[in-house]
């Protein structure tokens, strides 16, 4: 037997697909050939790994979507079923247009308390709103999960669901404010501010399909890597005027310290940006703990406020408030480029 001709048989043997006689011959060969024995070990490992990845946990949201559709079909009878595909597309498209139209009609002028009906059921769902200075905001997917829109005091204006959008768990919302484009992702409230810097609404993203290991999930957190970290300092009661004083020092944790004794610290593996509310241009940017060879890029950041573990973690925008609850800065975590 020549070792080079045996790979096919070894693969079949590892999968239990080899007939008894060739299997017996191969076993006899394996007993004295360490090269082929190693090949067999690798083939078996590959098969085990492939079998391990045969399942993935579906989210509750997916279940709702599937049974929502099945119930719809069951209640509309055989005729509906036969043309389901065509009609479903039209139905979803119409829903999207109706929704976009309804949302476009809503203008945010000061405090607004118009509760919106549910259903963001389509890829074309768009929220359009006008802020207190007349700028038009256009908020669209891809996003999977619940979106709550509230006024700055946290009173709910809209609570609804985006379903099945995006190319990653949770996804992101894209925002277009009269020619300026940026994105928001990560669970939690994202402040929207008008041209004068006043926060006029909070966009709260609650992803429905993050897996357990991801930022919004419940999994045990991976260990913190001991690599470079950054430190940002700012000493001024009015952070807006102190922007140019924020500095980045390598090898330290990102931190923003204010004279009123509130300190925020953020650490993890990735890029940290400091932004003004409603702006996409970073005031400061720091790289924390770049991933080393073979290391997984861990989507994990941790907050502490006055040495107490913060509630917010994960990539995305984290609003920083002063003691009166005003959003003064946004700290945004992003994955490190590999």
């Amino acid at each position: 037997m020549r070792c080079n001709d045996l790979q096919e048989q070894i693969d079949a043997f590892a999968a239990g697909d080899l007939a008894p006689f060739p299997a017996w011959r191969l076993r006899r060969h394996l007993a004295h050939c360490s090269v082929c024995a190693a090949r067999l070990y690798r083939a078996k490992t590959l098969n085990l790994n492939l079998a391990d990845m045969s399942v993935a946990a579906p989210s509750d949201l997916l279940r709702q979507r599937v049974f929502g559709d099945l119930e719809y079909l069951a209640s509309h009878g055989a005729e509906e079923e036969s043309v389901w595909h065509g009609r479903e597309r039209v139905r979803r498209r119409k829903r999207g247009y109706a929704l976009a139209g309804a949302l476009a009609a809503i203008a945010f002028t000061g405090t607004i308390s118009v509760p919106l009906a549910q259903l963001f059921w389509t890829r074309s769902a768009v929220i359009t709103l006008t802020d207190t200075t007349g700028r038009v905001w256009r908020i669209s997917g891809p996003f999977t999960g619940i979106i709550n829109l509230s006024d700055p005091q946290g009173r709910a204006l809209v609570s609804s669901q985006f379903v099945g959008l995006g190319d990653e768990p949770g996804g992101k919302v894209k925002i277009d404010v009269q020619g300026e484009h940026f994105e928001m992702y990560g669970n939690g409230p994202h402040p929207l501010s008008d041209a004068q810097g006043n926060v006029f609404a909070l966009l709260d993203l609650q992803s429905g399909s993050w897996p357990a290991w991801a930022p919004g999930g419940q999994a045990a957190r991976p260990p913190m890597p001991n690599a470079n970290k950054a430190r940002i300092l700012a000493h001024d009661p009015e952070l807006w005027n102190a922007i140019n004083r924020i500095r980045v020092h390598p090898d330290e944790v990102v931190g923003i310290y204010r004279p009123d004794d509130v300190a925020w610290r953020m650490q993890g593996t990735g890029v940290v940006k400091v932004l003004k509310p409603g702006s996409s241009k970073p005031l400061q940017q720091g790289q924390t703990a770049p991933p080393s060879h073979g290391q997984v890029i861990i989507p994990y950041f941790e907050w502490t406020i006055n040495n107490r573990a913060g509630q917010a973690n994960g990539y995305g925008a984290h609003p920083i408030r002063d003691r009166k609850g005003r959003v003064v800065l946004i700290l945004k975590g992003e994955p490190s480029p590999r």
């Binding site: 079949a12 045969s54 190319d167 996804g171 897996p211």
Partner: protein, 215 residues
């Protein structure tokens, strides 16, 4: 050589009584049977589609389509194959339809890492960090296979179908499926060996660095 694969070729899977009852319920459009079908097989279908598409959102869309198509086409399910085989067939056709309609978006390495990193949770339980790296490497190697090879490998080696079942799903002769599985395995091994070699080299260099530092 031909006879050497016969064991796998003619390995058959018989339907259990329970599965026959489920098949009957599906044909009748019984809601409880569909609930059972989803509970038993949704994770497997999602796992399969996730590895095909490399996108969780797209895979979930397709899972939704699969179960709706299964409901609409329930009368065509004659119960001669296992329910999972039937669903995987629908999933494969849906995925092919989708890639025919639009070129699949290229998947970034980060996305692949994220998919692979779902194993983090499992590794957290077992404490085997190496498994995480393996899983990510495997996910990347899979993503680099041509769609037909990936389909065959996933159906046979990951989902555990027989060559006959996979051939019926892929609408190809059994011999073609066998060749594809074999070819896909060979390419995966090549990829994994390359990564392993690279990793060993890094370890060797790191070891040399440490020795130098001690001096």
């Amino acid at each position: 050589v031909k006879s050497e694969f016969n064991a796998g070729l003619f390995r058959t899977t018989s339907m259990k009584h329970e599965e026959r009852q489920l098949a009957e319920g599906i044909r009748m459009g019984d809601a409880e049977s569909f609930r059972l079908l989803y509970d038993r097989h949704a994770a497997q279908i999602l796992g399969y589609l996730l590895r095909l598409t490399n996108s969780r959102a797209e895979a979930e869309d397709l899972v939704q389509d699969v179960f709706v198509a299964a409901y609409v086409g329930r009368t065509t399910f004659r119960g001669q194959s296992r329910p999972i085989s039937w669903l995987l067939g629908i999933a494969t056709r849906r995925w092919r339809d989708r890639i025919r309609r639009c070129t699949p978006a290229s998947t970034s390495l980060e996305t692949l890492a994220e998919i692979g990193a779902e194993e983090l949770e499992r590794a957290g339980q077992t404490g085997l960090e190496g498994d995480v790296v393996n899983s990510i490497t495997l996910t990347r190697a899979l993503a680099q296979l041509e769609p037909t090879l990936r389909e065959a490998l996933l159906l046979v080696r990951s989902q555990g179908l027989t060559y006959v079942e996979a051939a019926a799903i892929m609408d190809e002769p059994v011999g073609t499926v066998k060749w594809r599985v074999s070819e896909a395995t060979r390419r995966m091994q090549q990829q994994l060996n390359a990564v392993e070699g690279e990793y060993d080299e890094m370890q060797r260099l790191a070891g040399a660095d440490r020795r130098l530092c001690r001096r």
